[in-house]
Symmetry: C2
Subunit: 117 residues, 2 copies
DNA sequence: GGTTGACCTGGAGTGCACTCCGGGTGGGAT
DNA sequence: ATCCCACCCGGAGTGCACTCCAGGTCAACC
């Protein structure tokens, strides 16, 4: 079991973000101790790793929410989860390709500026 | 000279975005015809290409604004422009590296899901 | 047993980058 | 001449993803 502070440390999400994610259902209701304070399980922390990955690759919260629902719905949704991740993978690849393309333009611009100095 | 509609077509920015960019100073005051309608020069369109590149690589508007000011200030700012673009290039590279790293995680997850089917 | 600090809640506020609105003007095809 | 459509303007509104706030509770260390 992890305290909020430990999860903040582990995952890099702020405590406000964690509370927000729980409120909107991206995290399932987190366990509480006797005083009502959150205690995150190993599984919660693992799921937050996935959330971090999806978020940092630009997946909108609405889509993460759909993925979270598939995970909760049980193993029979695994084919759907694969489809969702494959689609996201294509979008990530498109982002990478696009960035690489734009980067070439930036490199050209820098070269040009160097050439006129 | 290009009409707003032509620039929308050329650059992919909406007319509202174009007006917004002019309002905040990311575009210098665009020329007008007798009726007060915008007429974009070749130079304006070229600059919009740069803006598109910077925007699509995640540069915040505030930074693009600084770059725009350097461009307007004249050729003596070219070393500063190079610095700014080099810094941005590093950030673009970091984005690409980060996406590629996260993508590996997604691939692993997909493989795992495939393995349990 | 007092103080500090981590934590709780619902709800309001923020920052970014647009995007839309309403009311008005002008120009070009029919 | 008339109609339509592109365009004008200032300003309000939107969507996303948080982030902050006020007021309160507990627990643990000195």
């Amino acid at each position: 079991m992890y305290t909020p502070a430990e999860v903040v440390e582990e995952t890099g999400f702020s405590i406000d973000t964690l509370r927000y994610y729980e409120k909107i259902g991206l995290l399932e209701r987190i366990g509480r101790n006797a005083a009502g304070q959150r205690r995150f399980s190993q599984e919660d922390v693992g799921w937050l790793g996935m959330v971090r990955c999806l978020r940092d690759t630009g997946m909108p919260i609405a889509t993460m929410l759909r993925f979270a629902e598939l995970v909760r719905a049980g193993d029979h949704t695994i084919p759907d989860r694969i489809k969702l991740l494959e689609e996201h993978d294509r979008q990530v690849q498109a982002q990478i390709d696009n960035l690489a393309e734009r980067q070439r333009y930036i490199h050209h611009k820098i070269s040009y500026y160097r050439s006129v100095l």
